[in-house]
């Protein structure tokens, strides 16, 4: 069913991560993703993995959901692993046959890269699991607001993003409804070749377009009626405030950064 496509994949909860200021969360996630790439040695990466694990535990998002977020990048993971194993050469040779050689360096790089990618995916999905899309765009708007000096309409962009996100579930619901109505008239969406299936989408696509345009006009009208004129002078219902936990997060992130740099200096570089 269409409905099963989770979007934004927010996982409701009350954990520390859920309650954190979305601005801090966004900035921290962004920062820590950079830190992942600063890691050059296994102990440094280990520290980063520990950080990711602790964050995952704190989020109270079930392991199953986190694993689900890794699934889409599985192919990329396998691909990078294989490439690295065969292409980076050096150190002790574990296995060799014809032109293929598996060396210590190859295995190390492969493992290193895979862990890196997994940490990256898990961190960024923790952000989306614990923050609603609206909060995320809100935070983005705030963090990008300095760009106003370059006459970039940050508010309009954020509003467009919020609206688009807001209407995705509505659209999915609408698609579901139209699909059911056409199925009830005997539309066959499941069988046939590609061309036939593409054609079968017309009865769904056209009503969807029609109602989307209607909805867009109605929304624009409703917003105008409520005197919406853009970002100027707008206040917010939900004020974002930095709390103790946000400061704690910042401190922890900085400690991890310092730790990663130190461990990079004292241990052998892998990459």
């Amino acid at each position: 069913m269409v409905r099963d496509i989770t979007f934004g994949q927010y996982y409701p909860g009350k954990s520390v991560l859920h309650r954190m200021d979305p601005r801090m969360k966004l900035a921290a996630t962004f920062g820590m993703i950079i830190v992942i790439f600063i890691c050059k040695s296994f102990p440094a990466l280990g520290l980063m993995t520990l950080f990711t694990l602790v964050a995952a535990l704190l989020s109270t998002v079930p392991l199953k959901m986190i694993l689900k977020s890794i699934k889409p990048v599985l192919i990329i993971l396998i691909f990078t692993a294989v490439l690295n194993v065969f292409y980076s050469k050096g150190g002790q040779t574990y296995f060799s046959w014809w032109k293929i050689e598996v060396t210590e360096k190859g295995v190390n790089t492969a493992v290193f890269t895979v862990i890196r990618i997994i940490a990256l995916v898990v961190l960024s999905s923790l952000l989306t699991y614990t923050t609603t899309p609206t909060m995320l765009t809100d935070a983005l708007e705030r963090l990008l607001s300095p760009l106003k000096v370059f006459h970039i309409k940050v508010h309009t962009l954020a509003m467009m993003m919020t609206l688009a996100l807001r209407f995705i579930p509505t659209l999915i619901e609408e698609i579901d409804r139209i699909m059911n109505a056409q199925k009830a008239r005997g539309a066959d969406l499941e069988t046939g070749g590609i061309l036939q299936r593409a054609k079968a989408l017309i009865p769904i696509f056209i009503p969807l377009m029609v109602s989307s345009f209607r909805r867009a006009y109605e929304l624009a009208l409703a917003m105008t009626c409520r005197c919406y004129t853009g970002g100027e002078g707008r206040t917010r219902m939900k004020q974002m405030k930095l709390a103790g936990r946000d400061i704690a997060c910042l401190v922890i992130c900085l400690i991890v950064l310092a730790g990663v740099i130190t461990l990079n200096i004292f241990f052998k570089k892998v990459i």
Binding site: R177, N180, A181, Q182, R185, D188, P207, V210, S211
Partner: protein, 287 residues
């Protein structure tokens, strides 16, 4: 004879397996005999639409079975597809399903999916258009150029043209003005009289249901709370009110009058009927 639709121990969950899981239908048993006209009422969110979406296999039961014509519809692909043609489902606000260039083409979408010959399709479209009171010249218009009420009729014609044995309407009169409502209900009634098919109508309006249905099923919170003739069900007005349903005002007045000892029946569901009875009564008193 097998039942037109039979539902056994039906349970359905929305968002199954997520934290938002809700049971929309809870262990429902129901049989609808062939040729009857059944009304389904219930408070908003009680699960009416969910229930009827099982009748032609649009939703798959989490537990339990659905039988159409005595056949379990989930037993194979063929029976499932067959159920789509045996049970015609007309959703709430069906006008949003229109998509073809002309009304004619849109009505013929269903019959075409049944792989009928072009002549047969044509015949059925014209017949359905006549039933729903769509004039001939409208058939060549774009469905998006029709008025709201006409769109509704075109959409209903699209389902009728498939000539299903059972027709299920979800709030067919929603959003229409009172005379439009009446006309539409009349139209469904006429269709049934002509074809003798089984009809299920879901409605918020207890007046509409009283006017047409032979049997009323009350759905409350995913369960069947009452099932019987209009008189039987509507006489429990207190219980109905607890489920968020109000029997028509005219019925309330007449049952009060009846309780006060006046010589009027307690089961009056339409203002016309009520007026007739009162006029009769006054007439008698004068003479």
């Amino acid at each position: 004879m097998s039942n037109a639709i039979e539902v056994k121990n039906l349970t359905y969950y929305y968002s199954e397996g997520t934290p938002n899981q809700v049971a929309a239908i809870k262990n429902v048993n129901l049989a609808i005999e062939k040729g009857t006209m059944v009304g389904i009422i219930g408070h908003t969110g009680s699960g009416k639409s969910t229930l009827i979406s099982h009748f032609n296999g649009l939703l798959k039961p989490a537990e339990g079975n659905v039988f159409v014509d005595g056949e379990d519809i989930w037993q194979s692909k063929e029976t499932l597809r067959g159920s789509r043609f045996k049970v015609g489902l007309c959703f709430q606000y069906p006008e949003y399903q229109l998509f073809e260039e002309t009304v004619f083409a849109d009505i013929s979408f269903g019959p075409k999916n049944m792989k009928l010959s072009p002549e047969e399709v044509r015949e059925r479209v014209l017949e359905a258009a006549e039933f729903t009171g769509l004039r001939k010249e409208m058939l060549d218009k774009s469905p998006f150029d029709l008025s709201g009420g006409e769109k509704r009729r075109a959409a209903i014609a699209g389902v009728m043209a498939m000539k299903p044995q059972t027709l299920v309407f979800d709030e067919p009169a929603a959003g229409l003005d009172p005379s439009g409502r009446k006309e539409l209900i009349k139209l469904i009634q006429n269709y049934r009289e002509k074809t003798g098919c089984t009809v299920v109508i879901v409605s918020h309006s207890m007046e509409d249901i009283a006017r047409v249905a032979e049997r009323v099923i009350v759905v409350n919170d995913g369960e069947i709370a009452a099932d019987g003739t209009v008189d039987e069900v509507y006489s429990h007005s207190d219980e109905l009110r607890k489920m968020g349903l109000n029997v028509p005002e005219i019925t309330q007045i007449f049952s009060k009058l009846h309780d006060m000892g006046y010589d009027v029946p307690g089961n009056v569901y339409s203002v016309e009927k009520g007026a007739e009875i009162i006029l009769n009564l006054i007439g008698r008193g004068c003479r």
